[in-house]
């Protein structure tokens, strides 16, 4: 009791701990829901043989896509030698680590035999895009862990109590450029293969375009990931002085993301136009109907195209708007949301049209999917975990700290703007 009175109650007066406790409630509820799934089985979800991949896979795809910030910012900072991006790479790596751990939690729930999650590493099917994703995600998670360990090593608690461990973890930082190369390779492979996972299925005409799917997944992951890490940095700096940002660097990043999202829009539009059949193609025409005029129309036109691509491109590139930091933050958040909408739409559009796979579906028929409560609660739980982990990183691990010069402190390339922003 004294412990609670001495430590917990005063801490609860701080908004950050209130926020963490708030997230904790959702995590507890999510864990209970997940236990129900593990014990009772997947029949308590709304997944079916017609729509076997639902909300969980969408969250998993989105988490992996937005976690692409880790490899892309690392590559820019350490391979393209953008020195000013090195502190941002630290944030990106942490966010990426959280993203991949979210994805793995979702996957563990989604597969029917979670006790066999390791089979992919032992029983290889080199022809399967999903196998490649499994291997690359597994290896890349290890890479991310090695990149995140130095950050944990620099945590006050570890530094004070275990100085030796802190030192050895910190020395892992020397590997960062090497890890950036490996990360770039592994991420390029599995981000595009996730698109290929859908793109090579002959059974679903709307998905069956291997190259466009792979390219779209890859580009949207990079753009969405960089947008997310820029947004998180700006947003956290508004909430806490612990997040020390270099606004000039983030403004340049946001401007780059603006061009990136414009490019993404061009690629996506080219993909859509080239995949439009001239005549009636069974299965495909119906799926395009769902996407452009049916059930997914709002999510497609509204969230993905207009709010997710066109509007943020305007906000980030037109000189009148791009100077305003609030507008910039809104635009960056919209891009991340657009990428999530893209994953959701892509995953569902192929499954909502049933063609030739159930009785009477020689003429394509529509099915529907709405996640069940238990799916939503576990999904929210995993998202709450992600937010909690990022909050923890900002509060205790200094993951957003552009004031700290990571390497070569004597280097003159450190701009004057590197001085911690004072608010």
């Amino acid at each position: 009791m004294t412990l609670i009175r001495r430590y917990v109650l005063p801490a609860m007066k701080q908004p950050v701990f209130q926020w963490m406790a708030f997230l904790g409630v959702f995590i507890v509820v999510g864990v209970v829901a997940a236990l129900m799934v593990f014990i009772k089985g997947l029949y308590i979800t709304n997944l079916s043989d017609l729509v076997p991949w639902g909300l969980w896979i969408s969250i998993d795809l989105s988490a992996i896509a937005l976690a692409a910030c880790a490899f892309s910012v690392s590559a820019l900072a350490y391979l393209a030698r953008r020195e000013s991006l090195k502190p941002v790479a630290k944030t990106a790596v942490f966010v990426g680590f959280v993203g991949y751990s979210m994805a793995m939690m979702m996957l563990l729930l989604d597969i029917g035999r979670p006790d066999r999650f390791w089979h992919g590493f032992v029983f290889w099917n080199i022809h399967s895009a999903l196998w490649e994703v499994t291997i690359c995600v597994g290896l890349y998670f290890t890479v991310l862990m090695m990149e995140v360990l130095p950050i944990i090593g620099h945590w006050d608690v570890v530094e004070q109590r275990f100085p030796k461990i802190s030192h050895s973890l910190g020395s892992l930082h020397k590997l960062t450029p090497v890890l950036a190369v490996i990360g770039l390779g592994l991420s390029t492979l599995h981000q595009s293969s996730l698109g290929l996972t859908y793109g090579k299925l002959v059974a679903k005409p709307i998905w069956y375009r291997p190259w466009p799917m792979a390219i779209n997944f890859y580009i949207s992951a990079i753009v969405g990931g960089i947008a997310l890490v820029t947004f998180i940095s700006l947003f956290a700096a508004r909430l806490t002085p612990r997040a020390r940002i270099d606004k000039a660097v983030l403004a340049r990043m946001a401007y780059g993301v603006g061009w990136g999202v414009l490019f993404l829009f061009a690629v996506r539009w080219w993909d859509l136009m080239s995949s439009m059949p001239a005549g009636y193609v069974p299965g495909k025409t119906e799926a395009l109907y769902i996407l452009t005029r049916g059930r997914l129309a709002f999510s497609f036109w509204g969230l993905e195209i207009v709010l997710g691509m066109i509007l943020p491109a305007i906000l980030l590139l037109v000189p009148r708007f791009r100077g305003n930091e609030r507008v910039r933050m809104v635009a960056l958040a919209l891009i991340a949301m657009g990428v999530i909408a893209y994953r959701w739409n892509t995953n569902l559009v192929g499954q909502l049209v049933v063609f030739g796979t159930v009785a009477g579906s020689d003429i394509p028929v529509f099915t529907h999917y709405m996640p069940s409560l238990v799916e939503i609660l576990t999904g929210v739980g995993v998202i709450a975990y992600g937010l909690l982990a990022i909050t923890f990183g900002v509060r205790f691990l200094n993951v957003i700290d552009h004031g700290e010069v990571v390497e070569a402190p004597a280097e003159t390339s450190v701009p004057a703007a590197m001085v911690p922003s004072s608010r």
């Binding site: 043989d49 035999r113 399967s128 299925l201």
Partner: protein, 276 residues
């Protein structure tokens, strides 16, 4: 310590390296160096090789005559019983399709098509579903992780996930047959096997699948109208070879996808067509 290597050391090192390489190559299953194996292992290997060669010579095919199928679902009842499938899963289904020009009802039974270029075999991340030497698409229930990717990939909707554990009685047992295979665990995908256990057991006692009922898939045996026929397409005298020679109009489903299914359909025709 001197870093120089004299001749003696060099030879030693070379010998050690060669021995290591030889042992590791010999122990690998590539068979680059035929090491003398124990006789039991050699025998077992030879047996397995002979078996796979025998299997590779077969091409199991099902032919469905849509003129004969009346949609009675007797085949499904037999399938449910013999393969002990849960009530919410039916490995095969009988669909009603467009009637003939005369208005006669037409049905189309749909088992797993056992495609030669099976999308499910290609996409399974753990090779839990695979091709046997005779081309049958098999399921390894002990390896499946339940990711359900194969369900997305199948153009025929022939794969079913065990959303819950099948406990309790099977409504089709015993009147339609008795279970011959184990129930599958929760969380894995299952599908029609062409009753591979019946084929294998029948062959092992010298029966001919497709001719002898005990070696033939349960649905084929159960059909009292003779709509389903089974056999080895590589054998010119098998019932399926004869049937397909008589009916060059036989077709397969979704042939444009290039999956090369192993189930053939003889289309239903109106009487004038048949007479002409």
């Amino acid at each position: 310590m001197s870093t120089k290597i004299d001749r003696r050391d060099f030879l030693k090192l070379g010998a050690a390296a060669t021995a290591t390489a030889a042992i590791s190559i010999g122990m690998s299953d590539r068979g680059l160096i035929p090491l003398p194996a124990t006789s039991a292992k050699a025998e077992a290997d030879a047996e397995a090789k002979a078996k796979s060669a025998q299997r590779a010579a077969r091409k199991w095919v099902m032919v469905v005559d849509q003129n004969k199928c009346v949609g009675c679902d007797l085949c499904l009842a037999a399938c449910h019983a013999y393969n002990d499938t849960p009530p919410n899963i039916s490995w095969s289904r009988v669909e009603e399709v467009e009637p003939t020009s005369e208005g006669k009802r037409v049905f189309r039974p749909m088992p797993c098509q056992h495609c030669e270029n099976a999308p499910c075999v290609e996409v399974c991340p753990v090779r839990a579903t695979y091709h046997r030497e005779d081309g049958l698409v098999m399921m390894n229930y002990d390896r499946c992780i339940g990711c359900r990717y194969c369900q997305l990939s199948c153009p025929y909707g022939a794969r079913f996930f065990n959303w819950e554990k099948f406990t309790g009685p099977n409504p089709d047992v015993p009147h339609a047959g008795t279970p011959e295979v184990e129930r599958r665990p929760r969380g894995v995908v299952e599908k029609c096997t062409f009753c591979v256990h019946r084929i294998d057991r029948g062959l092992s006692v010298g029966l001919i699948p497709g001719v002898d009922p005990d070696a033939t898939p349960a649905c084929v045996v159960a059909c009292i109208y003779g709509a389903r026929t089974f056999g080895d397409l590589n054998d010119p005298d098998s019932p399926v070879s004869v049937l397909l020679r008589e009916h060059p109009e036989a077709y397969r489903l979704h042939e444009q996808l290039g999956t090369e299914p192993r189930v053939y359909y003889i289309p239903a025709e109106s009487k004038e067509d048949a007479a002409s």
